[in-house]
Symmetry: C2
Subunit: 324 residues, 2 copies
């Protein structure tokens, strides 16, 4: 999925955000400035800032205020990625070497801590205690989600509810509050902010399910790493949980997962990938992602009719446009 | 150094803080609650909360407000320790197994992130943007300080200024703002808050130098780990920098440090410890710590004459009371 350069009206302001992102990590430490810029320059969809700006369109849109929410949200997301790369022992992200790979784990750890700090520093420029509270709460929930992911590594007995709770914390929440905080920072109506939260939450759920599908069904070129990376590290995602319940593949898949765990992921995972692809897990996951998208669209219906609604609808459809 | 149970008047309120500390990390994640409580229960001097409460005595002392600063400051300190233990590959802290040792590095990483999040969540209950700004800035500076420490591992060419800048960020700043934020949360006069910042800054510098001296001159029982741990991991502290400039020991010491680095710290460091102890580095470091204490006492002189001044003076003296 490329950056959302489809929205011409936001393009200029997204350039402002991009510049602010780089500025926000510059400072007294040449090392941390360098590692942070490396991380940020590796790119990304900037999904969270896009949602902040679009949320802002439902109120008194002011880029100077909105950037104080958009940039911290992208920074928090980036900091969580750099800490993830330490955990996942990832060598590349988006096809570029990770901070962990280019420097080392210690540097990646403090780069994450530094970026979290910079995110907060920026937010405090906005005198809005409610926004600070929502951001702090999101950081807590994200750490819990990450911890749950570790806890459930190679747990083939986990149910769908557990998966959904985990991705809610790990992904959807931050996207939900991106939409919500954009509206709140623009002093939009509180019911509008809640509607945007629901939109973002459901889009976030669909987005993560889609991302998990892509890791199994995409090509190495599309994903930026070999397919099946999630299974390699023990991350049992929705299609795999469904496949484990499909009697056509459940036994051989369970054996493959045991083998991958025994080999600490240092083995070929293509057999496991093939089994999941051949199962009903793909179609079932796609159906669930589509259901979340429908819920997101329902949430949009409650919002005032402005042009941004059309763009939000396009993003929602874009997320489940499958290229594999 | 034991906890500061010498201050009877604060004892009751420190019990409140202790209880709040434990409460603050309880939540939806049984795993993170357990790891965080393990970390907090391992103890510590609670130096930062003590300073917050004492700072509060210079204004309208209200434990309900002060705890919203004291607990986050101790949490931020604790989160930085758990991340340090990952970096230092430490098996024990204060004689107890570290989170990293009892669980693993990944758990320690997310425990740190979680505790940072909890700290911020708590602070946002206090509607005081200036306090949020000071805290966020401190988190950034601490991450820079930690990064500088990694950068300077086994760097035998570093000068004293570089060491002082590093411990300023790593240690003194958080102690300085503990004193300052206590005063600000109690709506004390701003000049008083600045005086307390200066006191805390200088006490913090003395405290870190003293801690670095203890690692070289203390017994294993006093330190909770074998002497020379800093050198083992490549952390070149003030006494070592002074010793490297002392021609009686500089050559053999440099050779020992090269050997420790080549062995990745997996070797006996007692020869290096003996060399530093035999050098002029100990007395010179003690003299510098004493100078910082004098500056801290000078800062106290500018403050209103309340009983707490006497206690702050006692803490300052207590820090440089040498037991080795």
């Amino acid at each position: 999925m490329k950056r959302f350069d489809i929205f011409g009206t936001l393009k200029k302001d997204m350039d402002v955000i991009e510049k602010e992102l780089y500025l926000s990590v510059e400072g007294d430490s040449p090392e941390l400035t360098e590692t942070s810029l490396h991380l940020l320059r590796a790119g990304g969809k900037r999904l969270r800032p896009v949602f902040v700006l679009m949320g802002g369109k439902f109120g008194s849109y002011d880029i100077e205020r909105l950037k104080l929410v958009a940039v911290p949200l992208e920074l928090i997301h980036s900091a969580s990625l750099v800490h993830d790369d330490v955990i996942d022992d990832a060598e590349t992200r988006r096809g570029k070497p990770t901070v962990k790979a280019k420097w080392d784990n210690r540097v990646a750890m403090y780069t994450g801590d530094y970026i979290y700090g910079r995110a907060l520093e920026l937010t405090t420029k906005l005198e809005a205690p409610e926004i600070h509270r929502i951001l702090a709460k999101a950081m807590v929930e994200m750490a819990i989600g990450e911890m749950e992911q570790i806890r459930d590594f190679f747990n083939t007995e986990q149910n769908i509810r557990r998966y959904l709770l985990r991705i809610r914390r790990k992904t959807s929440l931050l996207i939900a509050i991106s939409c919500q905080l954009g509206a709140l920072a623009a002093n939009a109506d509180r019911r509008v902010a809640s509607g945007l939260y629901r939109f973002g939450y459901n889009v976030g759920m669909a987005f993560q399910i889609q991302d998990d599908l892509l890791d199994l069904c995409g090509t190495e070129k599309q994903i930026g790493k070999p397919p099946g990376s999630d299974m390699r590290q023990g991350n049992i995602t929705l299609p795999v949980i469904f496949a484990l319940g499909d009697h056509h593949v459940s036994e051989p898949l369970r054996q493959e997962l045991d083998r991958i765990q025994a080999m600490n992921g240092q083995c070929d995972v293509s057999e496991a990938v093939q089994l999941v692809r051949a199962s009903s897990g793909i179609a079932k996951s796609e159906a669930l992602a589509d259901r979340y998208i429908r819920k997101a669209l329902d949430a949009l219906d409650t919002l005032p009719d402005i042009k941004t609604k059309k763009h939000l609808r396009e993003i929602a459809h874009f997320i489940t446009k499958r290229s594999y």
